[in-house]
């Protein structure tokens, strides 16, 4: 009897530990992993067009509230030096600052779909927060091995009434740390328009961090590589940091 009970307990424990999490659980964990409370980073953005032409930008970026507020300021090249973008409410509200005219302008939400400095990232792609949790319905499609890592494949279907950034996204999430290594973006016709691959993943202050992110536009055959040159999650935003005043600095 005791032996049967022990076997039952061991089997139960084993079942609990090997139980595949639900799609909702995975997306919740992904959101947590991808959204440190605050972030400061310096990076480069390299655009390579379909004809092989290259443009390199450098920027500084700050975010707080798990990506709810962010500010990005370009430092190179000279033509756009000082241009800055303030995004609040998970990029629902965007303000731009153009140093040549000293003007701050509020952009309407349609501007979120514009390419950032002609790159393959839109403003919306740069907005953090809980968009995967709130604007999509997740389904776990399965698991596979990618580059030696066991990953889950999760499908996110946008909830139309909530104006999701894309109708459908497929995530490949590393099982070891819930870090998404690939995101495929689809349009209404089911065409895989863009793909984001996150690599060079390092542990920075207890958060797995992709030091390289490559967004490929599958239609235009162009790509944009974002590289983190410097990043910390220990940065604390001073009061009033995410404001028009600071945007103009």
């Amino acid at each position: 009897m005791k032996t049967k009970l022990l076997i039952f307990i061991l089997l139960s424990i084993s079942a609990v530990f090997s139980q595949t999490p639900t799609a909702v659980d995975i997306v919740d964990r992904v959101t947590n992993v991808m959204s440190p409370e605050n972030t400061y980073s310096k990076g480069t953005q390299t655009i390579i067009t379909s004809s092989g032409k290259e443009r390199v930008f450098e920027f500084e970026s700050w975010s707080a509230g798990k990506g709810e507020s962010s500010l990005t300021r370009y430092t190179k090249p000279a033509a756009i030096r000082g241009q800055a973008f303030l995004m609040l409410n998970n990029a629902d509200d965007i303000w731009s600052y153009f140093p040549r005219t000293k003007r701050v302008r509020k952009l309407a939400s349609h501007a979120k779909k514009q390419k950032m400095q002609g790159s393959d990232f839109t403003y919306e792609d740069m907005g953090g927060g809980d968009v995967f949790q709130t604007k999509f319905t997740p389904t776990l499609l399965g698991e596979e091995t990618r580059d030696g890592d066991l990953v889950w494949q999760v499908e996110l279907i946008g909830i139309p009434d909530l104006e999701p950034p894309y109708p459908k996204i497929i995530l490949w999430v590393r099982q070891s740390d819930y870090f998404p290594v690939t995101l495929d973006y689809f349009n209404e016709s089911g065409y895989n328009t863009k793909s984001l691959v996150l690599s060079d993943i390092e542990m920075i202050e207890n958060y797995p961090t992709a030091m390289t992110m490559v967004m490929t536009d599958n239609k235009e055959r162009s790509s944009t590589t974002m590289r983190n040159l410097e990043i910390t999650y220990a940065w604390e935003p001073p009061k009033g940091f995410f404001s028009e005043r600071n945007l103009k600095k």
Binding site: K53, P77, A78, T101, A108, S109, H110, A111, Q114, G118
Partner: protein, 396 residues
């Protein structure tokens, strides 16, 4: 003198690890005006320097060197319908310039920012017109071009993250003659609102031939909003103005070049309504409607004095009602195709101007703009036939 002052300051600025940047810009234009074709253009070099002696202090300055070539002397009457062949001559020269444009210091205190010196001030949310902007005027063919500095003192007090109070003073020899402008901006939901008030005690406009026009007092109350509705960007800007005229500025009877009656005091309203949208195929579209109560309503009521006063900067437009439209699409690698269209709805004249922008190298842009004008020969834009503009700009 100011230039040499800047040169003398440079060694001190160098010690504070200044940042130097700027651009070289060259422009070539061809314009068909009646039976005559003109070539003209300029080469411009702008050098900016910024120094931050500490986190709370920013010192900035820029010098513009601009040399004109081709036709550099223009007879204003060539642009006044009905007077191109009149034999009247009022020449305006475009001399080569060396201008200390902006020259300012910004002090950031915990609760406010104070900027002192010659600085760019660009109030308003409109793109082609800004009824609340009493400092600048814009070219409809290039509304987003940088504006020259204004000697002023500006105080900005943030009131929370989305509210800002701004006070601007443009000092004159007598303190009571200084221009004052106050603005309060606040963000509520997905809209930003602003209220603006300004008082100008004495404004001297230099109007060709008519001499100076002196406004004893100009009081302006205005405001604006920017936000979105049904997925379209939306903005509005308005002002209501009271002009109290001081001197016997007169409209002219050009048949004998004698003054007629002085202009009376005036109250007028200006407003801009605008909208924009980015479509899924990356096409950006923007449109504005502008009404200027100070403008002339009917073409038949226009006099050369109205043209001259408009050219002198008295009014934001010649007539009352205008539209401006702009469409832009990133069509090829680093090539953007755009077009702008603006029209005077009162005299049915306008301009259609397609443009190609090519980011040829990392910091070098080449743009080619054509402009086709329509309307009768006695209208604001119909006077010209066509134009071409090639501009090359390299930033550093």
């Amino acid at each position: 003198m100011k230039f040499w002052g800047t040169i003398l300051l440079l060694p001190g600025l160098l010690l504070a690890q200044p940042e130097f940047f700027g651009y070289f810009e060259s422009e070539a234009d061809v314009m068909q005006l009646g039976s005559t074709r003109y070539n003209f253009g300029y080469n411009k070099f702008r050098l900016d320097v910024e120094v931050r002696p500490s986190d709370n202090v920013l010192i900035g300055a820029n010098i513009n060197i601009q040399q004109y070539w081709g036709k550099t002397t223009w007879n204003i009457f060539d642009f006044v319908p009905g007077y191109a062949e009149s034999g009247l001559v009022l020449n305006v020269d475009l001399p080569d310039t060396l201008l200390l444009d902006n020259f300012y210091m910004k002090l950031s205190f915990p609760r406010f920012d104070l900027t002192v010196g010659r600085q760019q001030i660009s109030p308003g949310v409109g793109y082609a017109w800004n009824p609340t902007d009493i400092f600048n005027s814009k070219s409809l063919l290039d509304p987003s071009y940088e504006q020259t500095g204004v000697k002023a003192l500006r105080l900005e007090i943030p009131l929370g993250d989305r509210a800002l109070f701004t006070a601007i003073a443009q000092p004159e020899a007598e303190i009571e003659q200084s221009t004052q402008q106050y603005a309060f901006n606040v963000g509520l939901g997905c809209f930003d609102f602003s209220l603006t008030g300004s008082l100008q005690e004495r404004v001297d406009y230099s109007v060709p031939i008519l001499g100076d026009m002196n406004i004893k007092q100009r009081m302006m109350l205005g405001g604006g909003l920017v936000g979105e509705l049904l997925g379209w960007g939306l903005w509005a800007e308005f002002s209501t103005n009271d002009l109290e005229m001081e001197s016997p500025f007169a409209t002219f009877d050009y048949s004998n070049l004698s003054p007629l009656t002085p202009l009376p005091d005036q109250t007028f309203t200006e407003y801009v309504l605008g909208t924009d949208h980015t479509f899924d195929n990356s096409l950006y579209f923007m449109a504005e409607y502008f009404h200027n109560g100070l403008g002339v309503a009917e073409k038949d009521e226009l006099s050369p004095a109205d043209y001259l006063a408009s050219l002198g900067g008295q009014s934001h437009s010649l007539m009352q009602d205008y539209v401006f439209m702009y469409a832009m699409h990133p069509t090829f690698d680093f090539v953007t195709l755009s077009t702008l269209l603006f029209a005077n709805l009162n005299d049915n004249s306008g301009t259609f101007a397609p443009q190609l922008d090519w980011n040829a190298f990392e910091d070098t842009n080449i743009s080619l703009q054509g402009s086709l004008f329509w309307g009768d020969d006695d209208t604001e834009f119909g006077l010209q036939d066509w134009g071409l503009r090639l501009r090359v700009r390299s930033d550093f």
